[in-house]
Symmetry: C2
Subunit: 238 residues, 2 copies
Amino acid sequence: MEELRNGERAVLKELERIIEYEFTDKKLLFTALCHTSYANEMNQINRAIESNERLEFLGDAVIELLVCETLYKEFPESSEGEMSQVKSAVASEETLSEIAKKIRLGHFLFLGKGEEKTGGRTRNSILADTLEAIAAALYLDGGFQTVKNVLKKYLDNYILDYISGKKIFDYKTKLQELTQELFKCLPKYKTVENQRGFTSQVIINGTVYGIGQGISKKEAEKIAAEKAVKLILNSREV
Amino acid sequence: MEELRNGERAVLKELERIIEYEFTDKKLLFTALCHTSYANEMNQINRAIESNERLEFLGDAVIELLVCETLYKEFPESSEGEMSQVKSAVASEETLSEIAKKIRLGHFLFLGKGEEKTGGRTRNSILADTLEAIAAALYLDGGFQTVKNVLKKYLDNYILDYISGKKIFDYKTKLQELTQELFKCLPKYKTVENQRGFTSQVIINGTVYGIGQGISKKEAEKIAAEKAVKLILNSREV
């Protein structure tokens, strides 16, 4: 990669101040902040820049390990099932984008012009992905302890809220809330028994929003509700 | 937890020799080898023993990070999509149970009598889960570098095979092979377009084995095939 420009260096410096960590390899941090749309735009003017997609892939695993380790060590009474539910909730786009907003990550993103115009700077999926890329950059630059030093305090609040039940990851309830808010009606479940157990469809205003398979009616409905919730939340962002 | 028995200590020692790592905390290794069925049996005779389920949860994240880091660092040309596919294939039950067999993990398991009778010692799901628990025990006892020292060489072979295309993770092809072998016929796909894109059913001998949702017909079929493959492989083991 080519040298960083002065304006870019200034952006990195400001973010380093907020996360209280100074990168040895500034280009790692820069790459973590480069959305595909920016990399594409730069490549068109022959500036070789990598997007943050590969870092995001690594960072997803880094954050998951941090969450799993915290749950394992600090909540010894929690079962595998509970830990697994909390992990999904904490390592989700919803949570990670909230943390990204706390460190004002949107402000530091490098975006292409098109993405900028359509509100990419505040889009949850982009913010969550970039936070993952930042986690990977921290990991590669300073090791796992550095990731812990910078990100654990943010994740811990969510872990505690989910473990203590302050936050809800009951998808059937969540779907009900969303449906009432957005469609002014309640979701309906249509569940049939078959060779694989039960198949459940969640129907909102006549449209199937999620299909779930499970060994019980309850499980099939829960899975269908989860899919519907994710579909609705994702489509709201785009 | 109570003290380890002499017979148990001997088992641990033999496994330590094979993996070429000596645990500081022997109880961690012991817990990693204790299947739920053994923990339940011991609890019934008032011996307080924890099963390996919580370690397995942590170990899943440890192995994923090891695979992701290897892909990121050693295959800089691989895209996020490729890395993601290879990660799923390598961190799968199929691969992890193969590695478990290479270190003869089945031989060292602590199983309840019922599980022993029904062939638990050779069951892929149990072997893969135990390998994950071992990864967590290594992580807690010696840190991430210890996990690397012990497990990376095994995982690397699979990573290389998948990246180079020697091993196949094309689920539609895999399903075709399985269906011909087990049902002497080919799978059929029934795909319909709907509000969410496409929904595809894989039908074998008149029975639905998997349902997939996708933004294209191809994607919906691929997901349906993946679900069917997993369903068939899981039901063969039980």
